[in-house]
């Protein structure tokens, strides 16, 4: 049975077990998507346990969402266990593995990691207070650090290896469900015309496409985009950079 045979509104009313059955037995990817969205609050709750480990909470949530996706994929319909129960160790395991194996792409002093983790909230608070984007000097004063340390912490944040777009949906084990939900990766053709990045947009997940459209077509500042998509300004900045980088790579 095809995805379109089940309207989204109907899926939303179904119990987890029925959605799991539809996904595993009927290949209803919409059911899987509904399950992911339904249990993202669980992922957020679990991710919060690691909020003070020197990495942005949003990045940890993305990692945890992979654990959720794996739990849905591996779920055995013959077992009498709730999906949330089954998913919890999968989500925690994924987060722990991430901290152990991937972590910081370069060796970064812990103090800088922690400074980077505090940066996002500070920038948002100052932006709200000042009614404009804060300067590095203002961020540094709020964090009681030097401008150089602030810049370094910003930079190590961009070197932190989250589940980047460059990982790509082809790497099945590491695919980020938040980035692949709703994406249409089929039919992408290599573009030889580097004047136009447009064709490479189709290779991005829907959220990244939406962010790029908001930034470069509608001209919205990062902070407004962050509000609309529910991410921090720093995270939006990282996604824009990575998306543009990934698009350029597609054209090479």
């Amino acid at each position: 049975m095809k995805d379109t045979d089940y309207p989204a509104r109907e899926r939303a009313r179904l119990a987890d077990r029925e959605l799991l059955r539809r996904y595993h037995e009927d290949a209803d990817v919409g059911a899987r998507e509904t399950l992911v969205r339904r249990h993202l609050s669980l992922v957020r709750t679990l991710a919060r346990r690691y909020a003070n480990c020197g990495e942005p909470l949003e990045d940890i949530e993305q990692v945890g969402a992979i654990g959720l996706l794996k739990a849905i994929d591996r779920f055995d319909l013959g077992r009498e266990v709730a999906l949330a129960t089954y998913a919890t160790p999968n989500v925690l395991g994924e987060i722990k593995r991430h901290f152990r194996d991937r972590g910081w792409a370069i060796r970064v002093p812990r103090a800088l990691q922690e400074l980077n983790a505090r940066m996002s909230q500070t920038i948002e608070r100052l932006t709200s207070q000042l009614g404009r984007s804060p300067s590095i000097a203002e961020i540094s004063a709020a964090l009681e650090t030097t401008p150089e340390e602030t810049l370094e912490a910003l930079e190590v944040g961009s070197n932190y290896t989250t589940l980047s777009l460059s990982t790509g949906p082809g790497d099945e084990g590491d695919a980020d469900p938040l980035e692949t939900i709703g994406s249409d990766d089929d039919g992408f053709e290599r573009c030889e015309d580097r004047a136009a990045l447009e064709p490479a947009l189709a290779h991005l997940a829907s959220r990244e496409r939406a962010i790029l459209r908001m930034r470069f077509e509608e001209g919205l500042p990062q902070i407004q985009i962050a509000d609309q998509v529910g991410l921090s300004q720093m995270h939006v900045s990282r996604l824009i950079r990575r998306s543009l980088g990934a698009m350029r790579e597609q054209l090479d």
């Binding site: 920038i123 932006t127 709200s128 000042l130 009614g131 404009r132 984007s133 804060p134 300067s135 590095i136 000097a137 961020i139 401008p147 150089e148 810049l151 370094e152 910003l154 930079e155 961009s158 070197n159 015309d193 580097r194 004047a195 136009a196 990045l197 447009e198 947009l201 790029l212 930034r215 470069f216 077509e217 001209g219 500042p221 990062q222 902070i223 300004q233 900045s237 824009i240 950079r241 543009l244 980088g245 698009m247 350029r248």
Partner: protein, 131 residues
């Protein structure tokens, strides 16, 4: 304040973070906002990404009152001039390097050298990004 800073860097991705840090330090001296800093870093990063992975590129910064002018080049041409054309401003007008630059800096332009390479000029004004 009116200061000039010049540097020459290898066109090697491993130096990308170094360039970002230096640009950050320069922008910090001009007391720009965080998003302005991010914008200028992104503009330079995208230009360097177009320049390939071999050779060197020169970056010249001129700090004035509330503005930073940057010159990047020479960059290998190979279609770059087309990519830098003024973007179609209409919705759905296409995502081009020109559109990216037009968004993140206040003005930009380019010229071709006698060797056929491209020199790109960027101008970023402070305080244009409100919350």
């Amino acid at each position: 304040m009116s200061e000039r800073i010049s540097l020459e860097v290898p066109l090697d991705a491993t130096f990308g973070p170094v360039v970002r840090l230096i640009v950050g330090g320069i922008v910090e001296r001009a007391d720009f906002g965080f998003e302005d800093l991010d914008d200028l870093q992104l503009a330079i990063e995208r230009l360097l990404a177009e320049a390939g992975h071999e050779g060197r590129v020169r970056l010249d910064f001129q700090l004035g009152a509330g503005r930073i002018r940057t010159r990047v080049g020479p960059l290998r041409e190979s279609g770059l001039a087309d990519a830098l054309q003024v973007p179609d401003a209409s919705p759905g007008g296409g995502m081009t390097l020109g559109r990216v630059l037009a968004t993140v800096v206040d003005s930009y332009g380019f010229e071709l050298t006698s060797e056929g390479d491209v020199l790109v000029r960027l101008e970023k004004l402070a305080g244009k990004t409100a919350a």
